[in-house]
C-alpha cells in the first residue's frame, strides 16, 4: 500500500534533491570567490573571465597581516582589537549572565516570570537607537575609540541570549539533585559550585561561542564608536576600497582571515549555535 504513492513522487523528489544541491553549491560561490581571490595576484584577480587555474600565492595574507601601510591602522592591529573586544565582552557577559540565570531559574523568585520576559524583550531593542546616547555620553567622558565603549554594549546586547541559554540549561537540572545535596547537609554555595556549575558548563560554552561570534561580526557599533585606536576588523576592511578602486587581493585575504575562525567553530558546533540563537527553544 505504501509503495504506490512513494513510487509516483520519486521523480519529483529527485528533482528537488537536485535543486537543493544546486542551491547549496550556488550559495558556496561567494565563499569560493573570496578564497580563490585571496590566493591570486592583484592582476590575476581582476582578469575576466576569471582564471580557474592559477598558482596560489599567500602574498596577500602576508601583506595584509604584516605590512598594512597606507591604512589608518594595520590589519594586524585591527585583528588584535577585534580579539580583545570580543574576549572582554564575552567574559563580562558570562560573569553577569550566570548569577542572573541562577536567580531566574529559582521557582521561589517571585518576579522571575516578569524579569525573564523583560530581558527577552530587550533583544528587540534596536542597536541604532542605543548608539546615539552612547556616542554622546562616551564623547563627554572621552571614551570614544576605546575598547570599553565597544565591550560593554556588546555584552549588554548579547545578555538576553546568554541569560536565556543558561536559564533553560539550569531549569533542566532535576530538582531532586538539589534536594539530595540539602539532605546531605551541604550549603547552597556548595551545591552551586560543585554540582550546578559543572552541569552548566556546556551551556556556558554555547553562550561564550555565540556571544563571541556576535561581537566579532558586529559592524554598526564599531563603525559609530571607534575611529582608529580601537577599530575592529569588519570596519577596517572597508578601507581596502579607496580612491584607487578596490584592492581585491587584500580585501579577500582580510575577509577570509575574519571569517575563518567563526566558520570553523560554526561548522563544528552548529546544533548548539542554532539552539542558542533560538534562546534554547530548539534543542
Amino acid at each position: 500500500m505504501r509503495k504506490f504513492p512513494n513510487k509516483r513522487i520519486k521523480p519529483l523528489s529527485h528533482l528537488s534533491k537536485t535543486l537543493i544541491w544546486v542551491w547549496i553549491l550556488f550559495s558556496m560561490m561567494p565563499i569560493f570567490f573570496m578564497i580563490t581571490t585571496s590566493l591570486k595576484d592583484t592582476e590575476v584577480a581582476r582578469q575576466m573571465p576569471p582564471k580557474w587555474l592559477f598558482i596560489p600565492k599567500i602574498q596577500n595574507f602576508l601583506s595584509v597581516l604584516f605590512g598594512g601601510e597606507g591604512y589608518s591602522q594595520g590589519f594586524d592591529r585591527l585583528m588584535l582589537n577585534s580579539i580583545i573586544v570580543t574576549l572582554s565582552s564575552t567574559i563580562l557577559c558570562l560573569f553577569v549572565a550566570f548569577p542572573a540565570a541562577l536567580a531566574l531559574s529559582q521557582p521561589k523568585f517571585r518576579k522571575r516570570e516578569f524579569l525573564s520576559s523583560w530581558i527577552l524583550s530587550t533583544y528587540m531593542f534596536p542597536p541604532i537607537v542605543a548608539i546615539i546616547p552612547i556616542f554622546i555620553f562616551a564623547g563627554k567622558i572621552q571614551a570614544l575609540d576605546t575598547y570599553q565603549v565597544l565591550a560593554i554594549p556588546y555584552a549588554a546586547f548579547n545578555l538576553p541570549i546568554v541569560i536565556w541559554i543558561l536559564k533553560s540549561s539550569i531549569e533542566q537540572i532535576p530538582k531532586e539533585i538539589e534536594e539530595a545535596t540539602r539532605v546531605d547537609g551541604a550549603n547552597g554555595w556548595h551545591y552551586v559550585s560543585k554540582i550546578l556549575f559543572p552541569l552548566t558548563v556546556p551551556a556556558l560554552a554555547t553562550g561564550a561561542i555565540l556571544s563571541s561570534i556576535l561581537s566579532w561580526n558586529d559592524f554598526l557599533f564599531a563603525l559609530a564608536l571607534t575611529r582608529s585606536v580601537a577599530k575592529t576588523a569588519p570596519v577596517g576592511i572597508q578601507e581596502f576600497t579607496g580612491m584607487y578602486g578596490t584592492d581585491w587581493g587584500s580585501l579577500s585575504a582580510a575577509s577570509v582571515t575574519i571569517i575563518a575562525p567563526v566558520l570553523i567553530i560554526s561548522v563544528i558546533v552548529r546544533k548548539r549555535i542554532v539552539s542558542g540563537l533560538t534562546f534554547g527553544a530548539v534543542k
Partner: protein, 323 residues
Amino acid sequence: MKNEMIDLVDASAASSLELARRNSEPTLPNNKKSRNGIYWVQMSPALIILLLMTIAPAIFLVRKSLTNDSLLNSNSNFVGLDNYQAILTDASLLNSARVTATFVGIVVLLEMVAGLFFAQLLHKKSRSNSVAGALLIIPFAVAPAVSAMVFRELLNPNYGWVNYFMGLVGLPDKIDWLGNSTTAWIALIGLDVWQWTPFVTLILIAGMSSLPAEPLEAAAVDGANSWQIFRHISFRLLAPFIGIALVLRTIQAFKTFDSFLILTGGGPGDSTSPINLEIYRVALQSFRVGYASAMAIILLITISVLTPILLRILRRATQNEEV
C-alpha cells in the same frame, strides 16, 4: 513597555527595601524574603547593564527629541514637539519607513518559504543530508559586513562574477546592479536570503527531527500523499518552530544595517535607505541629535507595539519546547 518600566522601577525599589531589611535583621536561612533579596543581588549586574543600554537611552532620547540639539553648535533650545511634527511630514522618513517594511516583509516571507522547502527535503538522517547541514551553516557564519563587501565585488559591472556567469548562460551581462533601484533591491534581498535562509532551515530541521514518527507513519499507511502529510500533519506539529523562526527573523530583519550601508549605501538616490540608515546619517553624519532622537523614539514606539505580539509567539513556542 511603559508599564514594564514602571514595574521595574517599583521592583528595584522593593528590592533595595528588602536588602535594607535583610541587613537590619538577623537572617534566617529559610526566610523567604531574604531569599528573594539574594535573587535581586544576583540579578543586579545584568539589570544595571540592560537598563543602562535600553531604558536609559530611551529616556535620554525622549528628552533630546524635544530640543534642536546639534553636535556642531552648542546652543540647545527646547522646541517642544516640532521635531515630531517635522518628521511626520518628512517625505524621506516616510520613504525609509516604506523601505524597512518592504524589506522585512519580503525577506522574511522568502526565507520562511525557502527554509520550509529545504528543511522538508533535508531533515531525514543521512550522510548527504548532514553534509548539506554543515554547508548550510556557512553563509550565516560570515560576518554581515564581509558578505556585503563580497556581494558588492561579485556584482561589480565590469569585473563581477555575477555578470560573467549571466553572460555564460546567455543572459544580459552588462547590468549595473547597484546603479538601478530595482536591481539594487534584488541584490539586497538576494544577500539577505543567501545569508539567513540557512538559519531558518536549520531551525526547522531541528524541529522536524524532533517530531514524533507515529502520526506521519499512520498517515502514510492510510494512503496520504506526501503533500497531504506535510500540509495536515508536519506543518501543524511544526507550528512552534515556524513561530520561532518567523519571530527571530522579523526582529533581525528590522535591525539590518550592514548590508544597506555597504552594499547599496541606501542608493541609488534613497530608494534602498531604511530607517536604521536614516537615523544613523542624521545623528552621526549631520549631527542633528534632536531630530535623530525623535526619529529613534518613533522607531522605538513602533517596535514596542510589535514586541508584545512577537514575544507572545516566542514565549509560547519556547514553553511548548520546554515541556
